[in-house]
Symmetry: C2
Subunit: 215 residues, 2 copies
């Protein structure tokens, strides 16, 4: 699916640069790529991080199953090829958002190392932050807010990550958040905000606002 | 390609609403969908509009062949199915940008009415502004900045819009810009800025800045 078919397409640079957008926004565009088992807490943390950033004037957007599977990727199923294409498209869309100056947050299981690494590769160094939301399988099975583990264990859902399909843990994620040990969404979200503060993604004006707010 | 395969995907609302984003940005998210023949002036006008908007603090982004055909849609060719899928994905990505509060500008020939109408349909009323960049075929053939018409006329490029493939003019576009009659990119771009000013997409603070700047 990912061979290059679009040849002879002329390439030119737009006139507004990433640093123009950074200057306007007071922060860089960056992709926060959350990965982890179903029910590990990816979406909850991503949404909480977004709230915290947005509250301080940071331009953010969350890509998740809701807005991707019902839209861009509604013509993809759950075959190995379709899963890879699903993640490939999410990576490409994330790159567009990063280029647009947005802090884009993706909350997908994205179980395969290769797929995540491909997303990393298409972005510039530092534009891709892999956040491993680590939780024991037992913890996730107990939470099971949508009853998916139950269905997977009974065989009603096939190829379910952690049960009947593999999850390949990140080898060198920028951030690991263990939601078995720490269940407080707020505290976990703070770790992401602090990472961004510490790594030069935010300009001093926004950093100062966050510091005053207790971060 | 567009049948719904992703079933049993849970839908929930993010916590940050479009009106929250509008309040932060001082303008609505909206899609400026440029359509017209190759060399009609779509990209030039889209880029100039973006500059004008960005200069006044409006969050914008241009989707065009450069960033789409080399990325998200690099696995699509130019068959009828792939062309339709190309425009479908662009529509879906545009919707995401609109939801993120951005003024997203798409600059693609998008020759088929049905494809454009499908993009319109997935967005909320008023979120999709169809801008017909109208130019005589003769004008476009004379301009031919990339030599594509020459190649199409010699048969080197197949299914080229206007030569060997149809262009279906919009029936009720929000805006028509005739670049045969008016070749000044600046004046043509101003028409789009003024449309946005007149239709309630921009808050008073940004409108006042634009008015002071002579719009």
């Amino acid at each position: 699916m990912s061979e290059i078919k679009a040849t002879n397409v002329h390439w030119h640079k737009g006139n507004i640069t990433p640093s123009d957008r950074e200057r306007l926004n007071g922060h860089k565009g960056v992709c926060l790529w959350y990965t982890g088992l179903s029910a590990s807490g990816k979406s909850s943390i991503a949404v909480r991080v977004e709230e915290k950033l947005f509250e301080h004037g940071i331009r953010t957007f969350v890509l998740d199953g809701d807005n991707i599977r019902h839209g861009l990727n509604k013509n993809l199923g759950f075959s190995p090829e379709d899963r890879a294409e699903n993640i490939r498209r999410i990576g490409e869309v994330s790159k567009l958002f990063v280029d647009a100056g947005v802090v884009v947050c993706t909350a997908f299981i994205s179980p395969y190392r290769e797929d995540r690494d491909n997303a990393r590769k298409i972005m510039k160094e530092g534009d891709f932050i892999e956040i491993f939301i680590k939780a024991d399988l037992e913890t996730c099975e107990e939470r099971d807010p949508k009853g998916l583990y139950k269905k997977a264990l009974s065989g009603e859902i096939k190829d379910f990550t952690g049960i009947s399909a593999p999850y390949e843990e990140p080898l060198n994620p920028e951030l690991i958040i263990n939601t078995t040990d720490e269940t407080d969404i707020d505290k976990n979200a703070d770790k992401v905000v602090k990472y961004l503060m510490g790594k030069g993604y935010l300009h001093s004006e926004i950093k100062e606002k966050l510091t005053r707010a207790g971060y």
